[in-house]
């Protein structure tokens, strides 16, 4: 299963490193990364494959929320399906 991780907040050093490190720790594969500015906020989108991951989406969410708290950013992880179903006929 694939998940989309979004990180929204003020740009800070180390956000990508921390999130990537966390994903590496649970053997999740990063397939794509992009960064953009939404409003005035730094926004990072990661497409992640959880097929071989030791964590499911809710466990991964728990881990990411620790980083969110520490870095004072908003991190959300969502099942990819919500995006596909909303934007593709």
């Amino acid at each position: 299963m694939r998940a989309v991780i979004s990180v929204i907040g003020k740009d800070k050093k180390g956000i990508i490193a921390k999130v990537s490190n966390c994903l590496y720790g649970v053997n999740a594969n990063i397939e794509d990364i992009s960064q953009t500015i939404m409003g005035e906020l730094f926004t990072m989108i990661m497409m992640v494959d959880l097929k071989e991951s030791s964590a499911d989406i809710s466990q991964l969410n728990d881990l990411l929320q620790q980083i969110a708290l520490e870095m004072k950013v908003e991190i959300r992880v969502r099942n990819e399906e919500i995006f596909t179903i909303m934007h593709k006929i």
Binding site: R78, F83, T84, M86, H87
Partner: protein, 449 residues
């Protein structure tokens, strides 16, 4: 492969435009709870609701986390209780059982304390209606509805007259809480059997047992999309609304499918209604204003609402296999900050709202009026709304709150119910009209066979 812009669009819809699933409602059949003893019926009703929907709240929470989409309400609708208690009697104990069950499983509301009397009222249906003041003043989560007319049957004016009196009694019974009991009662014409929205939800007689109906939302999303086509002509407006409604509805369809799987339930419908909340940026009124009206209620409002309602349906039906329920824009006054402001500045009257209900779902919703409004005036308001529904082959409803002890100003209900400005009704009497009783015949176009 989805692209980043699409991902960002969805994230923004949730983050700043209040996209959410308004309700996941499980319809439960209570026909197997019928018995010849009131205590036994109440116990069976409690057991059935708790065993069927015990995991509803938890399931909605799991889905909400998985897809990052808030699910605001978890609700249950049941078979019209007038039928369930017909053989045993004891409606109040059944209502108490429903209230206890709702609290036990942690849902917001339970609907279906309902009587369908569009053509005639049996003694047991009358008994349920007479119990409404007690039930709606002593329970917290039970929602009630009464269907008093249909295109096929006409309008039961005896029931209409009775509902005027009952609404005043409910108002009086909850006087200490701004007559809040009236917010939990909907008087319908052409009530639908698969409505997921409260207070009017019930699980119709033709419905399955354990059926999931999902109500979507997202006025803020439509409003934001329309900001992109400011000044463009109406074909652009309709196209934009359609495309946006498609996306919103797909989210509802996904949640419904997954909830069905997790709960081992049946798929009912996705209701394509735009339901506002009192939060800023979650208003249907603001969509109409975005189309170019200075304030909602100005001339042109009915046309704007007709376009909105139609475009939402056209986008929505493409996105779900089973559209149903009420499916249209809601215009509850107290639950929409734009509507409240329009009433305050004198732009929106009861008469204009009545016209608007001819082109949208559902009717005069969450309207506070003076506590000294006569029962016959309330009944006449219901009759007018029913006539619009019956003649136009659509659902209409009245959820009106004569606020006991108040004649003007505001009433604060809090939460989703919001703030209700007390609106003016006509000072002229409808008493002799309502006194006639009997039934207004079904319109000629009901004879389609």
């Amino acid at each position: 492969m989805i692209n980043v812009n699409e991902i960002l669009q969805t994230i923004e819809m949730v983050k700043s435009q209040h996209l959410d699933i308004r309700t996941v409602t499980m319809g439960i059949s209570l026909f197997d709870s019928i018995s010849d003893n009131p205590k036994k019926t109440a116990q069976k009703v409690y057991d059935k609701v708790v065993s069927s929907a015990g995991k509803l709240k938890e399931t909605a929470e799991v889905l909400s986390a998985r897809y990052g989409l808030p699910i605001v309400n978890k609700r249950v609708s049941v078979t019209p209780v007038s039928l369930v208690g017909a053989s045993s009697g004891g409606y109040v104990p059944i209502a108490n059982a429903l209230d206890r069950a709702a609290k036990e499983i942690g849902i917001d509301f339970i609907g279906g304390y309902t009587a369908l009397v569009q053509k005639g009222m049996t003694e047991y249906e009358r008994a349920l209606i007479m119990s409404l003041p007690e039930v709606l003043s002593t329970t917290d989560r039970v929602c009630a509805s009464v269907n008093i007319g249909s295109t096929k049957a006409g309008i039961n004016m005896d029931a209409v007259a009775l509902m005027g009196e009952i609404i005043l009694k409910i108002s009086e019974a909850t006087r200490d809480r701004n007559s809040v009991g009236c917010t939990k009662l909907v008087v319908f014409a052409n009530a639908v059997e698969d409505n997921p929205f409260m207070a009017g939800a019930f699980n119709g007689c033709g419905e399955n047992d354990r059926v999931i109906n999902v109500g979507i939302s997202g006025p803020g999303v439509i409003k934001s999309a329309l900001e992109e086509v400011r000044g463009a002509d109406f074909s652009a407006v309709a196209e934009t609304i359609k495309k946006t409604a498609f996306k919103i509805t797909r989210a509802g369809q996904l949640i419904a499918m997954e909830a069905v799987k997790m709960l081992g339930a049946h798929f009912g419908i996705v209701d394509l209604s735009l339901a506002p909340t009192p939060k800023r940026g979650d208003s249907v009124a603001r969509i109409l204003e975005e189309m170019g009206l200075e304030v909602v209620g100005a001339h042109g409002t009915t046309a704007a609402l007709a376009l909105l309602n139609d475009a939402v349906k056209k986008g929505g039906v493409m996105a779900t296999s089973y559209a149903g329920g009420l499916s249209g824009a809601f215009i509850p006054v107290s639950e929409d900050e734009g509507m409240i402001e329009a009433v305050n500045c004198g732009a929106l009257s009861l008469e204009k709202l009545e016209a608007m209900t001819a082109v949208c779902s559902v009717g005069l919703d969450m309207i506070a009026v003076s506590g000294d409004t006569p029962a016959s005036t309330l009944a006449a308001i219901i009759a007018d709304e029913a006539a619009i529904g019956v003649v136009n082959n659509k659902t209409t409803a009245v959820r009106i709150i004569p606020v006991a002890g108040k004649t003007e100003g505001f009433v604060e209900y809090g939460g989703l119910f919001g703030t209700a400005p007390i609106m003016k009704t006509s000072p002229f009497s409808s008493a002799d009209f309502i006194k006639r009783g009997g039934r207004i015949p079904a319109p000629i176009h009901s004879n389609k066979n």
